[in-house]
Amino acid sequence: MALKLELIRPEIALFIAACIVMIVGLSKQHATRTACAWICGVGLVVAGFLAATTPVPRIATGAGLMPELIPYAKTLIAAAALPILLLLTGTVDRDYEHRVARGERFDPIRATRGEFYAFFLFSVMGVMLCASADDLIWLFLALELTSLPTYIMVAISTSRLRSQEAAVKYFFLGAFGAAMFLYGFAMLYGATGTTMLLQMARSFGEHGVGTLAVVGMLFAIIGVGFKIAAVPMHFYTPDVYQGASAPVAAHLAFAPKAAGFLTLILLLTTLGWSALPAVGGPGLPEPIRVALWVMAALTMTVGNVMAILQTSIKRILAYSSVAHSGYMLVGLIAGPGDGSLWRNGLAASLFYLLSYAAMNLGAFAVLACVERRARGSDEHAEIETVEDLRGLCRTQPALGWTMVVCALSLLGFPPLLGFFAKLFLFTSAISAGELPLAVVMGVNSAIAAFYYLRLVSAAYFDDRDERLPSGHVTPFSGRVFAAVASALSTVALLPFIGPLHAAGRRAVSTPAPVAQAPADAHAPPTRAAAAASDR
């Protein structure tokens, strides 16, 4: 018990911060209310610090499936949540605060600031809990904790009706997804008689993976597909992103996705991967490998092709985030290989997640930073179409270049961060014998050039359309800071690719006991095992 508490110290810090924020957000003093964001920031920094200093050696002896994943993932999440927090500033209560500043009496019931930030922290907490999950029930609760607050965040992020519509849609589909993976979890329990991930891994290792377990795992994967916006569970993405305000969309594009991928890594690892070169697990059972293969290929292709057809930037970025999920799935299919830099698909996926967090955030941040305002009025609206980006490099050089750099990095253009992230996915896929998948990914990267180039062209080449209302920079300077910082990070992180990737490799390594599974198993040797024996 004490050990588990020690594990979730970052989450406890976030929980305390969330509780404080909820109360402080109701304060009558404007200055106190505005402290909400600061408290959130402090909470995240403390959580990040606690996560980075989690005593791994002690938990390694505990029940964790991937003990090293805990500090790595939590630190990553805390680091990525900070710029998202900066973006979220000023999302809610903006008009209301204006009215209060003009003399209206402050009514705590009408202020949503406190809940909004608290829900954000709860959601981040959910992602962190996913990383430290050692049990199916814990995993389920953590996944739901990630998603439930986001439904509300979408609903209150703007005052438009469309946000509420998006939230309802998001909620129902989310409930559907949750039911799917809960069903899958139940089957897994039926197949193995345990909810503990480590016990499950042992059971699979000793008795092989039966039909019930395979079916359960497929349900679980499809259900989690909702969180990562993978085909066939991607339908909500464009509508919800478009309905939510840009900062919330940025959060949606990262947090549930991170939670989903952490869950998938844990679930698939129970099937008997081992990152230890000497042992070499039996690899994924064939039906699951095929299902993931098809899912990855479809997700990339559907995401990229649909993105070409869009005119709204948010919808483009939504479909692009679908496509990026497809890329990350490639790493999961490739598996950990022998754990080395070029062959470790899990680490490649984690590294891609990190790069994606940086560059995708930059793109969304630009949307959060530029707003249309009619002359002499407080009315403000987010920019909608690609046309609105036109001439941004001239009118707002910092934001324009952020868009250009982030779009190129998302495209995987060398020598930006996105290129190296994709490079590792390519090599891991080729190493695992998934050459066709690597080719599909290559073709998709080329398709993606269509729409990313449109963003680049609009921002850099086109002149501003004089008929459209002029774009203004948001009064919240934190957002601009987050945008520029994430664009810079696609370049500034380049020298640290080695250490970051090494940390990722350490994170997905499993301690020896899991790998007890003899390679003979009951199933015939699978492709991954064959690839591992190549050396």
């Binding site: 830099l341 190129l408 490079l423 390519f426 080729i430 690597a438 080329a446």
Partner: protein
């Protein structure tokens, strides 16, 4: 020294980005001259007695510190690289100086990107590892994309996007192919096979050994993947359609760099990565690739013939010319391959110069249509002499540079195989290939001379508003200051190119001599693979027997 050469344009571009608008031109001029000086210095210090040896090698190990990935930045040049590097260096200041009068708006972006373009191009020629090569190869896209998009003519946006998409799609496939080789080297090669084998590395040498050890089926796939990128860039026949558009829409300097250096990245890739990497597949499929090149030669030539737009005509002529270049390379004979390398240089000089000439005409008349201008020799004698000179060089007039390389490419293709059992037998092609491609030379003469006849000679024809009174430009014209004929600056741009065309035409021996050793080294494995092939058809059995006899 190589690194310094790379850094000059890169730093200059950054400097331009932060400096004021007025100094952009000056910085670009100085930087491009310095870049040229560095490439000239490399060429001068290069030990030409050992041309196949990699010289000035530098290696910066561990680009990804702490990863043990074997990713390193390694540079080095052999004779082929030095020549192409020198061509890049020479064209850089000419392009910058050649844009003084044409570009008056957004000069910061223009000169910044133009100078930034030089760094990745040079990196490609210097790269001794796959990652540096690939980054350079890809990164040329961005500056060129910007140059076309911002400074091109009316249809520029479409041209730029098409250019980007074609090249990017192709090079993604190239990346997959190269990564497959990397994987093969790390996993399938025994560590005893040589330094770097059995380890994850991106250095060219171990990868080359690994790729050569692949079975034919793998090699064929890798060949296909690599060709996808390089054929688009070269460009070869079915994937050439981006080129005329990009050339026509690009600003003059953009066209010059595109024709002069960027297209050479494709052929250089073929030379550096395809021929030595997958020799068995090359030996197997060389006839197919040669056929594609010949289709390009004839098809490109015939399209040129019906063009009314001078710039488009020269653009299509590039398709035809580079067809010769690829044909010579895949003849797998030393003669053909050195002719091919020389062709890269010569095409860069003469076609680059022709684009300059057309640009100068365009600046004066604002049209490139043969129907609107004619007989310009009467009003622009200096311009006309240069244009005729470069056209002749491009046609392949003996005594000028084009002739030597074109002849060598054809000779190489001819010698490559036997005709009715007679002669040759050294490679997969044969006299038929040379004969059909030779028709392309005649076609080239037809369309280029036709263009000369229309534009330079014949009755004087000027578009309205450019009558015989002193150079009547419309109001608000940016180029008011240009005299009728060439300025000293413009003559200064064309003269060095003309001199080099003449020098390489009259005295190609030193260059060919220097190319011999590296070229032989590059085609040796493919050649050996060809020899080792089981005779596929009884018709050439005689030749095969001959070849076996010749071996000790």
């Amino acid at each position: 020294m190589l690194l310094a050469t790379l850094l000059i344009p890169a730093l200059a571009a950054l400097l331009i980005a932060v400096s004021s608008k007025d100094s952009a031109r000056r910085i670009a001029t100085v930087a491009s001259l310095a870049f040229f000086a560095m490439t000239a210095l490399i060429a001068a210090q290069f030990d030409w007695l050992r041309p196949a040896l990699r010289q000035f090698s530098v290696e910066y190990v561990d680009l990804l510190p702490g990863s043990g990935a074997g990713a390193s930045l390694s540079l080095g040049v052999d004779a082929v690289s030095v020549m192409l590097l020198a061509l890049t260096g020479l064209l850089a200041p000419l392009c910058v100086i050649g844009s003084f009068s044409a570009i008056t708006e957004r000069t910061k972006s223009y000169y910044g990107w133009l100078i930034a373009l030089q760094a990745p191009m040079a990196a490609v020629f210097m790269a001794q590892d796959m990652v540096t090569f690939y980054i350079g190869f890809e990164f040329t896209l961005i500056p060129m994309f910007v140059l076309i998009s911002l400074f091109g003519s009316t249809n520029r946006r479409r041209a730029a996007v098409k250019f980007f998409l074609y090249t990017f799609t192709g090079s993604m496939m190239t990346l997959v192919g190269l990564l497959y080789v990397v994987w093969f080297n790390a996993v399938r090669m025994p560590p005893s096979a040589g330094p770097g084998a059995g380890a994850w590395t991106v250095a060219i040498d171990p990868l080359m050994r690994a790729a050569q050890a692949m079975p034919l089926r793998d090699q064929a796939w890798v060949l296909l993947a690599l060709m996808a990128g390089f054929a688009v860039k070269t460009p070869l026949f079915p994937v050439h359609t981006w080129l005329p558009l990009a050339h026509t829409e690009a600003p003059t300097a953009g066209s010059v760099v595109l024709a002069g250096v960027l297209l050479k990245l494709g052929t250089y890739g073929l030379y550096r990565f395809v021929v030595p990497f997958v020799p068995a597949a090359v030996a197997e499929y060389a006839p197919a690739i040669a056929t594609i090149s010949i289709i390009g030669i004839l098809y490109g030539g015939l399209i040129c013939w019906v063009q009314r737009d001078v710039k488009k005509l020269v653009a299509y002529s590039s398709v035809a010319h580079l067809g010769f270049c690829v044909l010579g390379l895949f003849a797998l004979t030393p003669v053909g391959a050195s002719g091919s390398i020389l062709y890269m240089i010569n095409h860069g000089l003469s076609t680059g110069a022709l684009f300059f000439c057309i640009g100068m005409m365009y600046e004066r008349y604002h049209t490139r249509s043969m129907d609107e201008v004619g007989g310009l020799a009467r009003v622009m004698p200096v311009w006309a002499s240069f244009t005729v000179f470069f056209t002749m060089a491009s046609v392949g007039l003996p005594g000028l540079n084009g002739f030597v390389s074109e002849f060598f490419c054809l000779l190489g293709a001819y010698q490559s195989g036997a005709l009715w059992g007679v002669g040759g037998g050294a490679g997969p092609l044969g006299p038929w290939y040379a004969a059909i491609a030779g028709v392309g030379m005649i076609v080239a003469a037809m369309y280029l001379l036709y263009m000369l006849g229309k534009v330079v000679f014949g009755p004087l024809k000027e578009p309205p508003g450019h009558g015989d009174h002193d150079h009547g430009h419309g109001a608000g014209d940016a180029h008011e200051g240009l005299p009728k004929d060439l300025t000293v600056r413009e003559i200064g741009i064309l003269t060095p190119l003309a001199l080099l065309c003449l020098a390489l035409g009259v005295l190609p021996t030193p260059a060919l001599h220097a190319l011999e050793a590296p070229v032989k080294q590059a085609i040796a494995p493919a050649h050996a693979a060809f020899e080792a092939r089981p005779a596929p058809a009884p018709m050439i059995e005689g030749r095969h027997a001959e070849a076996t006899e010749a071996r000790p």
